[in-house]
């Protein structure tokens, strides 16, 4: 036992002796975790306040259907116990495949199933939210051939900020819990995971979140994909509130990142780019699992091996560095004064990001407000900005693309 650890234990012992029976219950007892389908090859983590011991690899089943049921078997036999689906994945066929496989041989009680309801049309219209949630939950349960899902999530592909605390949605969740149709609730969020996670943690209604982030910001949907750095505060808050966190889209541009690693050990080990990126994200404080979309056995076998991969500190640092140089603008500001012609390089990329994100008018207005010599058309193509950029962003091409969209 290390000295620091010893001192911590000793202090706890003294406190317990002094406080005796007055010790708060939450301190007095370890939470009763729930274990299912644990097998030697996999590792597990307590999924926040749900107390589920979930496999660190979760199955994302967007592509799952009856024709790919053998994949579920391989995952199950590999110790995966966390299976994620959604009402509209493959028009409901993903849930059907779950129902067909897990309803047999008592498998249902050996896994944690999360599904999602898509009520964005109702939320957007501001009506029928409560009724539709109950209706869709019932349909999902029928397809899944179960009486109760372990986690029911609000399906989000765009920002859900305005809807995190939607009264009718939360009322429907409470009623579904009372009816025994779901045990816990959560949200999945692609677009603004940091903001949504913060709101979820603060409002106190939620137990779990599925959030999209990775080592780098994705090129498509530029501003809406979040990096690990941008998630740090929200993850910290989520940890304080004991939310279960599962990460999706964790291997964004994995091949590009790993192509530029320099640490020899990373390549020698023979791990795939996806394995390395998943493993990196699993090491982020507050992350309990990563959800991986898998369509064939080779991908399953690759991902089953992820939790046991050991990454040395230098390798982690190298991955971080490689991600930072992967051609995606991190808005670091290095290019701010680089252009001899005075082109507002970073601003233009930011406006283009707004545009891609859907804020077209605002983006165009911002671009129009730039002086002519600051716009992309003033670029003489000298490439000085690209020489300075630590992210190796192809800035000259990006400026042209931005101008085409914004002008």
């Amino acid at each position: 036992m290390e000295r620091r650890q010893f001192l911590r234990c000793a202090a706890a012992g003294v406190s317990a002796a002094v406080m005796g029976s007055a010790l708060p219950k939450v301190w007095a007892a370890e939470p009763q975790v729930e274990r299912r389908n644990e097998r030697p090859g996999m590792t597990y983590a307590r999924f926040g306040r749900t107390n589920f011991m979930v496999s660190r690899i979760a199955h994302g089943s967007l592509h799952t259907n009856r024709e790919r049921i053998p994949l579920l078997a391989r995952l199950y036999e590999g110790g995966v116990n966390f299976f994620d689906t959604a009402q509209h994945y493959a028009g409901g066929r993903s849930e059907e495949a779950f129902g067909e496989y897990f309803s047999q041989d008592g498998r249902r009680k050996n896994v944690f199933i999360a599904t999602k309801v898509d009520i964005r049309a109702e939320l957007k219209a501001g009506r029928n939210v409560y009724e539709r949630t109950l209706q869709l939950a019932d349909q999902s349960l029928k397809r899944l051939r179960t009486d109760c899902v372990d986690i029911l999530m609000l399906h989000g592909c765009t920002t859900l900020i305005d809807w995190v605390t939607h009264e009718d949605w939360l009322r429907a969740c409470d009623d579904l819990k009372k009816q025994g149709k779901t045990r816990f609730i959560g949200i999945s969020e692609h677009a603004k995971p940091a903001e949504v996670l913060k709101l979820m943690a603060e409002c106190g209604h939620y137990d779990a979140a599925m959030v999209a982030f990775s080592l780098i910001r994705g090129e498509w949907n530029g501003l809406s994909r979040t990096t690990i750095q941008a998630m740090a505060d929200s993850l910290k808050l989520a940890k304080e509130k004991d939310l279960g966190i599962v990460v999706m889209k964790a291997a964004m541009k994995a091949e590009d990142i790993v192509a530029s690693v320099s640490e020899p050990g990373l390549k020698k080990q023979g791990h795939s780019p996806y394995q390395l990126c998943y493993r990196y994200v699993l090491g982020v404080p507050g992350v309990h699992a990563v959800v991986c979309g898998m369509v064939n056995m080779a991908q399953v076998d690759e991902n089953l091996a992820v939790p046991k991969i050991e990454l040395a500190a230098a390798q982690i640092e190298d991955l971080r560095r490689a991600a930072a140089c992967s051609g995606v603008c991190g808005f670091c500001g290095a290019c701010l004064d680089a252009c001899p012609s005075g082109v507002a390089v970073q601003d233009i990329q930011r406006f283009h990001g707004y545009y891609i994100h859907g804020y077209r008018e605002a983006a165009r207005a911002d671009y129009a407000a730039l002086a002519p010599e600051q716009r992309a058309t003033a670029c003489r193509g000298c490439g000085r900005c690209e020489g300075i950029c630590p992210g190796r962003v192809p800035i000259r091409r990006r400026l042209k693309e931005a101008h085409d969209a914004l002008a």
Partner: protein, 332 residues
């Protein structure tokens, strides 16, 4: 399938496909990928020019005006511009579902909102899948499983939330925002189907499947990873009723007989781990093996095809099905 949040408006011009030759089915996407706008004035000029071209010769339309997603469709008025997405940015519209749609050969999507009087807005999504083979495949793998059949397009289905159909190279989804609007939304869907070109009818790969005993609407086409195996590609399958039993018949088309033989071997190696395979007197190198999920699987090769049946009950009726499939594959 409209997943935009209230604060997002779709872009008019997205992606970068060039306009197909006039008269081709793909002309649907028309001028949506015209060069980016310089100004609203240029846009207006383009619109007028395109309208003139359309009026005189027929062909590609302009940004904001399209030969399918017209500004008026019967009693329906388009509420905004037509947005176009390609494989490069489909994520921006349907996000995580994009790879699934793309895996079926997706080429482009055009989408627009329509409103009838003061009723809630409906959304029309027209997916250009490049061929009727792909459009059928996506429809059968993506349409709502709760939906009942509807007479719209080559094949249509509707649930309370939306109507979907496929026709020619197009897979179309029309949202149904209100129960009161159901009939009108169906009328809109039929109107769209009438405007869409019909190229070919049912996919030719369906002819590989025997017809006797086939379960209605059970036919599927999976472009890759059939049964979760990367080496089993272009799989056409259907369920069959044989007495009280239901079983699945499939045929995967590989590039060459040699590739099919390799796939046969790899599948056998996988199944052998669960029990020793036995020879099956069918096709080239046929065998029967046990799988923990599928039950007994009968597999054989015929030329560039790997085909089979599961669960295989070893009954004359099942053998007849395999023989029928073998005969059809042999004719290819």
């Amino acid at each position: 399938m409209r997943w935009l949040s209230p604060d997002r408006t779709p872009n008019v011009v997205r992606g970068g496909r060039s306009c197909p030759p006039r008269g081709m089915a793909g002309c649907l996407r028309g001028g949506q990928v015209c060069p980016p706008r310089k100004s609203a004035a240029i846009l207006r000029v383009c619109g007028v020019l395109a309208a003139l071209i359309l009026a005189t010769a027929g062909g590609c339309s302009s940004p904001g005006g399209d030969n399918i997603l017209l500004t008026e469709r019967g009693l329906w008025h388009r509420t905004g511009p037509v947005a176009t997405y390609t494989a490069n940015n489909l994520h921006e519209y349907i996000d995580g579902a994009a790879p699934f749609v793309i895996s079926f050969g997706f080429e482009s999507l055009q989408t627009a909102g329509y409103r009838r009087g003061a009723e809630p807005e409906t959304t029309v999504d027209i997916y250009d899948m490049g061929s009727s083979d792909n459009a059928f495949a996506l429809f059968r793998s993506n349409s709502n499983v709760e939906a009942g059949p509807l007479e719209v397009g080559t094949e249509g289905a509707g649930a309370d939330a939306r109507i979907e159909f496929w026709q020619g190279a197009y897979y179309v989804a029309v949202s149904n925002p209100s129960a009161d609007e159901k009939d009108e939304v169906l009328a809109l869907a039929r109107d769209l189907a009438q405007a869409l070109p019909v190229v070919g009818a049912w996919p030719a790969y369906l002819d590989l499947l025997p017809t006797a005993g086939r379960v209605v609407h059970s036919e599927r086409f999976l472009p890759s990873d059939y049964l979760g195996h990367g080496f089993l590609k272009r799989a056409v399958s259907a369920r069959y009723k044989v007495g009280a039993r239901e079983m699945t018949l499939f045929a995967c088309r590989l590039e060459t007989p040699k590739e099919a033989a390799v796939a046969m071997g790899r599948l056998k190696a996988f199944l052998d781990k669960q029990g020793r395979a036995q020879a099956l007197a069918r096709g080239e190198g046929g065998y029967v093996a046990a799988d923990s999920t599928l039950g007994r699987v009968a597999v054989f090769q015929r030329g560039q095809f790997v085909a089979g049946l599961y669960p295989y009950p070893e009954e004359p009726a099942a053998d007849d099905l395999l023989a029928d499939l073998d005969r059809r594959l042999g004719g290819r």
